[in-house]
């Protein structure tokens, strides 16, 4: 069953340019994505490509100065304000990206509990703390007293309880030590085996590959490719989109190749053509003609006119 379905999602920011004139910047553009029951879908890609915005759009916590179009549905129902209120914190949980999501004036232990929590969840969290090597003492600390890695573990523990049906995890692992990353990933895997859907937003491709069933690659506000985990191997011949290949080959363990061409290749696509066109080695005149439409290819899909 499809747990989460995102259809043609676009997000743009409105900001005051001069006086009362407002400018619109598109940051997410025509995004489609599905997460099924028991499935882990990883979202990897460029910094600033709209990965966190996707998470915030699903959770209904985007800032006020945005325009959102498209559909987000949960279990086949449109996820409107009333349904969000019902599911958020019980069936749908977010692992936020930064420690700034914790209340700075509240001790960690006090803010771990959701209003819907009972004894069962409290016990679950305690076990999780032990597995992640957080001492009981941690519950008595204020957020500013946590190290970067400790904060991640605390954020992770807020969401990863068995009651949850859909977890949106926004960069849950950076700063955590190797062994804790393994523990956290194993936890996601075991929740997925019990039917929970996980949307794992990360730039740790290695981590994503270890547990994800499918991998969505984001660039400039849209998914340019959806691949299977096994496509990421060797020098990336199985990958479909040139950006995915560049991302794979840029890993320290795979050649550490920087992308040639334009220095910074992220951010909103403003041009009409393929957003990756200006940095792509195989770009031709066709790429400038319009945004490539998604098409199915070798068990995944891709937005590139050249991919074969």
């Amino acid at each position: 069953m499809t747990l989460l379905e995102v259809k043609d999602l676009s997000i743009s920011f409105l900001h005051y340019a001069k006086g009362s004139r407002r400018d619109k910047t598109n940051v997410v553009d025509g995004l489609d994505l599905e997460v099924h029951e028991g499935e882990i879908v990883a979202v990897v890609g460029a910094s600033g490509s709209g990965k966190s915005l996707l998470a915030h759009a699903v959770m209904g916590i985007l800032p006020k100065n945005v325009l959102v179009s498209g559909d987000v549905s949960y279990k086949g129902e449109r996820l409107d304000a009333a349904r969000l209120k019902r599911y958020r914190g019980t069936e749908i949980a977010l692992v936020p990206q930064s420690v700034a999501f914790l209340d700075p004036l509240m001790k960690v232990g006090e803010q771990l509990h959701a209003p819907a929590d009972g004894r069962e969840q409290a016990a679950e969290r305690r076990t999780l703390f032990q597995k992640l090597k957080l001492s009981r003492q941690t519950e008595k600390l204020f957020p500013f007293q946590l190290s970067g890695g400790m904060a991640r573990k605390v954020l992770f523990s807020t969401a990863a309880v068995a009651r949850t049906r859909l977890i949106i995890a926004d960069e849950p692992t950076p700063g955590m030590h190797e062994s804790d990353v393994r523990e956290a990933l194993a936890r996601f895997k075991s929740l997925a085996e019990k039917g929970c859907g996980v949307l794992l937003i990360t730039h740790d491709i290695e981590a994503a590959l270890r547990i994800a069933d499918r991998i969505a690659v984001f660039y400039a506000g849209t998914a340019v490719e959806i691949a299977r985990a096994e496509d990421f191997s060797g020098s990336g011949e199985q990958l479909r989109h040139p950006y995915t290949k560049a991302l794979w080959r840029a890993l320290p363990q795979n050649g550490f190749e920087p992308l040639k061409g334009a220095g910074q290749a992220s951010g909103p696509a403003v041009e009409l053509g393929c957003p990756f066109g200006s940095c792509c080695g195989s770009a031709t005149g066709r790429c400038a003609e319009g945004k490539p439409e998604p098409r199915e290819l070798r068990g995944g899909w891709v937005r590139c006119v050249h991919a074969s």
Partner: protein, 199 residues
């Protein structure tokens, strides 16, 4: 030219020791990795080395550090979250030029586009901001850089671009580099040697 920590220890007030008896040396032109579990005090050690804090015991020494701390310090630090390391109300130009005026060549080598300098931090991506933070740290008197999870928040392509630029500059100017990171493949790719911490 050496950056040295001798028997350095740290704790908050009278709390438990976070670490004690840490000895560490970084030579000019050397790239050293520092890896260890979260909460073991890697960032704190970095801050001690960079002179942001005084060790609770032991000493940190580097040639050219002003005792009053009111001159350009030879040890500069680059942080994990660039958006928290810059003044949100300053345009980037002011931030980048606060300590010295970088040559256009340096900005170009780091892939910084001139247009970014007229923007505010909230209008740049993490990778763009981090490049500006690196430029700011590479002043003429900088001899050592402590890079604390410098590219942890960035995608692999941006990470590779930034490190290639950084390593070229560091090699040319014989700057010593301490790389604090969890990413073992990254550390083994770029560092001459690595020090396990708190294990």
């Amino acid at each position: 030219m050496l950056l040295e920590a001798n028997h350095v220890g740290w704790r908050y007030d009278k709390g438990d020791w976070l670490f004690r008896n840490v000895d560490l040396t970084v030579r000019a032109g050397e790239v050293v990795g520092l890896t260890g579990p979260s909460g073991s005090g890697k960032t704190t050690l970095g801050r001690l080395l960079a002179g942001y804090m005084q060790p609770a015991e032991g000493t940190v020494s580097v040639q050219g550090r002003s005792p009053g701390g009111n001159a350009h310090d030879p040890v500069q630090m680059v942080f994990q979250h660039p958006e928290r390391a810059v003044n949100p109300r300053w345009r980037l130009e002011k931030t980048v030029k606060e300590g010295f005026v970088p040559e256009p060549g340096l900005l170009e080598a780091l892939g910084i586009r001139p247009a970014w300098l007229s923007r505010y931090p909230s209008e740049l991506s993490g990778g763009e901001l981090q490049r500006c933070c690196i430029a700011r740290a590479l002043g003429p008197e900088t001899r050592f850089i402590v890079a604390d999870e410098m590219t942890t928040m960035l995608d692999a392509v941006t990470q590779a671009q930034i490190w290639h630029a950084m390593l070229d500059i560091v090699r040319e100017r014989q700057i010593g580099l301490l790389v604090i990171s969890h990413d073992r493949p990254l550390v083994s790719r770029i560092c001459d040697r690595s020090i396990p911490f708190g294990e």
